[in-house]
Structure formats: structure tokens, C-alpha cells
């Protein structure tokens, strides 16, 4: 009896061990590629960030400890790019969340063709970013663009959208809002669909008005979705490059330069390897913190729900 149990025990143990071995074995090719092509360059970047080094001159690189970081944090242009990125987040995300919430509530109740309407709304999300940039360049054109034409009916004199610093930033925000509001909407729609009908029934039995139900029932239940979508938007805004590069190129001057755009300019317009590596490391550190937060809030909650 006891020997049988023991035999079974060792059996399970060997099974587990062979499973672990198999798991490691099949993970290996993918891991090698990840390390070689992803971690390798990032490690090299980290290494470069401690050197004074340029692409242009044949001067040998000089090890400089934290000089690049010091220069970066005292560089007005870095803080300008940081601020611009923050502005897109602090203004863009609330505006997009509000519009998306209105849109999600409008589209939440199904009607014939509503699925298709939602799908059409989502086209901006997967559009080629370069095309998005061009499209807004045409629309915002101060002489021939349709936006100034429409605004002229409201008595607005033609605006030079992309030539004035503040207007250029507003242009970026308009483009970003156009592209990402539908994404926020569809996430909120998924959240709304997950709210059980009984919750609303209970609320209406209590005699709550529509607005009370929205604030007391719907909004709290949507909170996890808002957390998720805000985190994702922060990550996406850190990545934003193509449409900004096409629409304004960071200009006029440096008024719409984001962190990604500045990293590109430092590296491939100023050819400063050290500085561009340092700013890249700073971004990687910020993103790692966000990934930690993402795991802490979004992933753990989901796992908690499942178990």
C-alpha cells in the first residue's frame, strides 16, 4: 500500500521534472532570439550611454561616467520634450476618455447595424500612422484645408494650424484624439457589456434616476477599464513618433517635440550617440516602472477574478 503511494509520488515527481525540462527546452529558441535581437541592442545602448561618442567624427569614444545624464538633465530641450509628452497625456487622455465615455454610452444599447458602426469608428486606430499624419496635414492646411473652411462659417479667420506653437500642439492633440478615442470607446464598451443587467434593474427598483445610476453604478464598475485604458494610453504616448514627425516634425521650433522625436533628432540629426543613449535609458526606466504598475493593477486583478 505505502510503497504504491510512494511509487506514485516519485512518478508525479519525475513527470513534473520532465515537464519542466520540456518547458525550458521549447522556450529556448524564442528566448535566444529575444536575447540576441532585443536584449543585446538594449544592453549596448546602456553601455553607450556612459560614453561621449558621436556618429559623425572618427574621434574615439571616451568613457565619461554619468556626464551624458548630467548634460541631459540640465538640457532645456530635454525638459521641453518631457513637458510636451506630459501635455499630450494630461490634456489628451482626459479629453479622449470623456468623449469615449459619451460615445460608449450612446452605442451601448444595440441597434441594427451597431456592430458595423463600431467597426467603422475603429478604422483610425489601425490606420498607417504616416497616413494619419498626412491626412491631418491636408485637413489642417491653412489655405485649402477643409477645417478652416468649415470654421469660416462660424466667423473664424483662417488659422495657421501648423505654423504657430500653441496651435501646432493643439493640432497634435486633435490628431491623437481622433486616432485613439475610438480605442478607448471600444474598451469602455467591453466594460459596459460586462456589467450584469440585474445591477441596473436593482438600481431602477431603488428609484434612482438615470444620472444617479451612471454615477453610482456604471462609473464605479467601469473603473478597472479606465485604469487599464489610461495606462495603455500613457504607454502609447511615450511611443508616439510617426504622426508627429510627419505632421509637425516637432516644430515649429521645438514646440511639439516629444521624447521619441527628440531621441531621434539627438541620434540621427545631431549624431550624438551618448546623449541619445542616455535619453533612451531614461525612457526605458520610466516604461519599466509603468510595466510594474500594469502588472500590479491590471494583470493581478484579472488573475484574482479568475481564481
Amino acid at each position: 500500500m505505502s510503497s504504491a503511494v510512494q511509487a506514485q509520488g516519485t512518478n508525479v515527481l519525475t513527470l513534473e521534472r520532465s515537464q519542466k525540462r520540456f518547458a525550458r527546452l521549447v522556450a529556448l529558441p524564442g528566448m535566444i532570439v529575444l536575447v540576441l535581437l532585443v536584449v543585446g541592442p538594449l544592453a549596448y545602448m546602456f553601455f553607450n550611454s556612459f560614453f561621449v561618442k558621436t556618429l559623425a567624427t572618427p574621434v574615439p569614444p571616451r568613457f565619461a561616467w554619468f556626464e551624458n545624464y548630467g548634460n541631459l538633465f540640465t538640457d532645456g530641450r530635454f525638459w521641453n520634450a518631457f513637458l510636451n509628452t506630459m501635455i499630450i497625456m494630461v490634456i489628451g487622455i482626459p479629453v479622449q476618455s470623456f468623449l469615449a465615455l459619451v460615445l460608449a454610452l450612446l452605442l451601448n444599447k444595440r441597434f441594427p447595424g451597431s456592430r458595423l458602426i463600431v467597426a467603422l469608428f475603429l478604422i483610425p486606430v489601425m490606420i498607417t500612422p504616416v497616413v494619419a499624419g498626412f491626412e491631418w496635414k491636408i485637413i489642417l492646411d491653412n489655405r485649402f484645408g477643409p477645417l478652416n473652411y468649415v470654421l469660416s462659417f462660424f466667423g473664424v479667420t483662417p488659422l495657421a494650424w501648423l505654423a504657430k506653437p500653441v496651435l501646432a500642439m493643439i493640432s497634435i492633440l486633435i490628431m491623437d484624439t481622433w486616432q485613439w478615442t475610438p480605442f478607448v470607446m471600444v474598451v469602455l464598451l467591453a466594460g459596459l457589456a460586462a456589467i450584469p443587467k440585474q445591477v441596473y434593474e436593482a438600481s431602477s427598483v431603488d428609484g434612482s434616476s438615470g444620472r444617479e445610476t451612471l454615477w453610482r453604478v456604471t462609473m464605479p464598475l467601469l473603473r478597472p477599464m479606465f485604469t487599464l485604458v489610461i495606462l495603455l494610453r500613457i504607454i502609447f504616448i511615450f511611443k508616439i513618433f510617426d504622426p508627429v514627425q510627419i505632421l509637425t516634425g516637432g516644430g515649429p521650433g521645438v514646440s511639439t517635440e516629444t521624447l521619441s522625436v527628440l531621441t531621434y533628432i539627438m541620434g540621427f540629426k545631431s549624431f550624438n550617440v551618448g546623449m541619445s543613449s542616455a535619453i533612451a535609458v531614461v525612457q526605458l526606466v520610466i516604461i519599466t516602472v509603468i510595466a510594474k504598475i500594469f502588472i500590479g493593477t491590471v494583470m493581478n486583478r484579472r488573475e484574482g477574478k479568475e481564481s
Binding site: K20, L120, L122, T128, V131, F134, A190, Q283, A291, M299
Partner: protein
């Protein structure tokens, strides 16, 4: 009697209010719809305009006749056809590589929790990182290897962008497959690899296919790496598009025509795989 008529009036009033709200609701949806779809409409119409119509005030919202010359000139004179071929080669090769190397890692992570939480954190961090940070080290590496402006530079570099995404999304799809599946095969004496290939993989095919479509589109749409790593030989569609603004008269008609071709894969994904779009873009956090 009196109370009943009152109720009836009350009901009629409520019904009127409800109708009013429905009308208002659809009106608002319509306004949003027109605003959000207008830029897409503008590309589509622009592709068929003749050159002068872009420099016309007031703007032309509906061209007098539809002209296909923009497509012809865009594809030939402006090098759109070559760019299209480059984009296809790069995107397809990258997709095959990413899926081939990613699928087993995803299976291992999803099923056997290889590397545990640290592994998840590692992949997520790479997934969230802005691609621009990798441009400089990659540029130096490719330059040293004298590989700049070739297809391999692009489809290998795109592994960096797409592999963390593909692994993470496919991991989720493997987690969705019931756990008992392989055990039956193992009890029948099959090897673990056989169990994966014959029992798990067929169930994962839809998820893998959708992941592949995402990866294809990300490569197809990519601009930054292509901008830095190519010059002329391996220019993809976004690069050719961006390069068309070089002259002093910008050929908006041809740009619109090529743009319309460029956005096709993304539009197909949104229209036909909406459910997966949400899942993909939330990195699996919303199952759609």
C-alpha cells in the same frame, strides 16, 4: 376613470420623452460618426481627385469625376509599386519569423509558466518600450555589419518590435485552451511535443492567425526603423509616401492614392476581426 386617463397621459408623455431621447441619441452618434470618419473619407476622395482640385478654395468635397491617374502615377512615377513589393517582402518575412520563434515560447509561458512572473514582467517591459530607444544601437550594429538598406535589416529589426507582442498575445491564447488536452495524449504514450503539435496547436490556430495578422500590419505600417535603416533599395511604402513631399509642389493626389492602398490591411483587421482588435491592443487584458 380619472386616474386611468391621467396614467394614459403620463404614459404618452413618457413615450414622447423616450422618442426624443432616441432621436437625440442617433443625432449625436451621427455627428461623432461624421467627425471621426471624415479624415478617412478625405483620403478616399482625395485619391480620385485631379491635381488642381487640392489647391482649390472652397475645398472640393465631391470630385466632379473620378480619376484613376493618381493610382497609376503613384505606383509608377513615384515608385509605389517597388515600395509595395518591399513592404510585402519585409512584412511577410518578419511575420513568419516572429510567429515561428514566438509560438513555442508563448506555449511554454502560457502552459508551464516558464520563468514565472519575472518572465512576464520582462516581456511586458519590452512590449511597452518605445521602439525609438533601440534605433541607435541597431543602427551601429547594422552599419558595422554593412547591412543597411537591405530587406534583412528591416525584417530582423522588426522582430524587436513584434516578438514581445506576439509572445504575450499568443501566451493568452494558449492559456484559454483547456488544460486536460495534452494529458490525454500523454497517457496514450505520445511525446510532449507530439501532444502539442497534434492536440494543442490545432486549437490555437485562430489565435495564432490573428496574432500573425497584427504582426503583419505593425511591420507594414512601421515608419521609424525604415526611415533610419533604409535609403533607396529597401524603402517600404511609408518611406516612399513620406519622401513624396520632397518637391515644392506636393502631389497630394498620388499621396492619397498610395495612402488608400497602405491603410487596407489595417482596415481589413478592424472591419472583420473587431473582437480580436480589442484583445490585441489591450495586450490581452480585455478578451473582447
Amino acid at each position: 376613470m380619472n386616474t386611468i386617463t391621467l396614467n394614459r397621459e403620463e404614459l404618452a408623455r413618457r413615450k414622447r420623452i423616450r422618442t426624443l431621447f432616441t432621436v437625440l441619441r442617433f443625432l449625436l452618434i451621427l455627428i461623432f460618426f461624421v467627425i471621426f470618419l471624415f479624415p478617412v473619407y478625405w483620403i478616399a476622395v482625395g485619391a480620385f481627385k485631379v491635381e488642381g482640385e487640392f489647391y482649390h478654395y472652397p475645398p472640393i468635397f465631391w470630385p466632379s469625376h473620378f480619376d484613376f491617374q493618381n493610382f497609376v502615377r503613384g505606383l509608377t512615377t513615384f515608385g509605389g509599386a517597388e515600395a509595395l513589393v518591399s513592404s510585402l517582402i519585409v512584412a511577410l518575412t518578419n511575420t513568419v519569423l516572429v510567429i515561428a520563434f514566438g509560438v513555442l515560447l508563448a506555449y511554454s509561458m502560457g502552459r508551464f509558466k516558464v520563468g514565472g512572473d519575472n518572465m512576464s514582467f520582462f516581456v511586458l517591459s519590452l512590449l511597452f518600450a518605445p521602439p525609438v530607444i533601440a534605433t541607435m544601437p541597431l543602427f551601429i550594429i547594422w552599419k558595422t555589419l554593412k547591412m543597411l538598406d537591405t530587406y534583412p535589416v528591416l525584417f530582423l529589426s522588426y522582430i524587436l518590435i513584434n516578438m514581445p507582442f506576439a509572445v504575450w498575445i499568443m501566451k493568452g491564447f494558449f492559456e484559454d485552451i483547456p488544460h486536460g488536452i495534452e494529458n490525454a495524449a500523454l497517457l496514450d504514450g505520445y511525446s510532449r511535443f507530439h501532444a502539442f503539435r497534434k492536440y494543442v496547436l490545432p486549437l490555437a490556430v485562430p489565435g495564432i492567425a490573428v496574432t500573425a495578422l497584427f504582426v503583419f500590419i505593425f511591420s507594414w505600417n512601421e515608419y521609424l526603423f525604415a526611415l533610419i535603416f533604409t535609403r533607396s533599395q529597401a524603402s517600404t511604402l511609408p518611406i516612399t509616401l513620406a519622401g513624396m513631399t520632397g518637391g515644392h509642389e506636393i502631389p497630394w493626389g498620388e499621396i492619397s492614392a498610395l495612402s488608400l492602398i497602405a491603410i487596407l490591411p489595417g482596415v481589413i483587421l478592424t472591419l472583420f476581426f473587431q473582437k480580436y482588435l480589442v484583445r490585441g491592443l489591450t495586450f490581452g487584458a480585455v478578451k473582447g
